[in-house]
């Protein structure tokens, strides 16, 4: 069995305007499939990736926002949102999607793994990760 690492995906781009957000999500799913410890961090315009109620019907692009809600099923255990970035954009945790997590074996569950954290905690989490992937 290969070593497991703590992978942090740092998302700093808004969805749709560029391909960064979608590409990050693709790599997150791949990393999770290889049974690594995967966490996501949303800062700057990345917090817009998680807004509720996205509707892309009129712009001819795939709405990939529902995929974030499935990340718990891929054993993604932590999704962090930088509080300062959220506040600068006039948003609160209520504006963001919720992501449930459940351990099928132990039946342990968390209603929402999306956690708003302060700058100091963001810095700690980034520093503690084995690898940080930037998008």
């Amino acid at each position: 069995m290969s070593d497991t690492k703590n992978f942090m995906f740092l998302n700093r781009r808004a969805p749709y305007g560029t391909i960064y957000a979608w590409e990050s999500l693709e790599v997150v799913l791949i990393a999770a499939a290889f049974e690594q410890n995967v966490s996501l961090m949303f800062a700057d315009d990345g917090v817009f990736e998680l807004t509720k109620g996205q509707d892309t019907a009129e712009i001819g692009m795939k709405n990939f926002s529902p995929t974030y809600r499935t990340l718990g099923d891929y054993e993604v255990r932590h999704m962090y949102v930088d509080k300062a970035s959220l506040e600068a954009r006039g948003l609160t945790a209520d504006d963001l999607v919720q992501v449930e997590w459940e351990d099928w074996e132990t039946e342990e569950s968390v209603d929402n793994i999306v956690e708003v954290v302060d700058s100091e905690r963001v810095a700690e989490l980034l520093a503690e990760s084995d690898v940080v992937f930037s998008f």
């Binding site: 781009r13 808004a14 969805p15 749709y16 305007g17 560029t18 700057d44 315009d45 817009f48 807004t51 509720k52 109620g53 996205q54 509707d55 892309t56 009129e58 712009i59 692009m61 709405n63 926002s65 600068a88 954009r89 006039g90």
Partner: protein
């Protein structure tokens, strides 16, 4: 006649909107589209910039791009007007030229 200025970058990431507002004439029309639509949100760190421009410039937001990003119309800065694709075309036609702030 006046000019239509378009902004498609997030005001939190680039200064396109700020420079557009600073360097466009008072009777200009400003259209926010793609990631530019984030500039129309209330309660943000850049709200004052737009809110003070609305007085002497006409500010528009491309509705489909706003909606795609999950933003509610009741959270749009007062005085900003929503247009659809046909409305975008009308704005292009109604102005002398289009200046894009990319």
């Amino acid at each position: 006649m006046s000019d239509l200025h378009t902004v498609n970058k997030s005001p939190f990431e680039k200064n396109s909107l700020e420079t557009c507002l600073r360097l466009s004439k008072a009777d200009s029309a400003i259209l926010l589209y793609e990631d530019g639509v984030y500039g129309a949100l209330k309660g943000t760190a850049v709200e004052n910039m737009i809110a003070s421009a609305v007085g002497d410039k006409k500010v528009y937001v491309l509705g489909p791009d706003y909606k795609a990003r999950g933003l509610a119309e009741d959270r749009m800065i007062d005085g900003v007007e929503v247009v659809d694709y046909a409305g975008f075309v009308d704005l292009v036609e109604a102005n002398d030229k289009v200046q894009a702030w990319v």
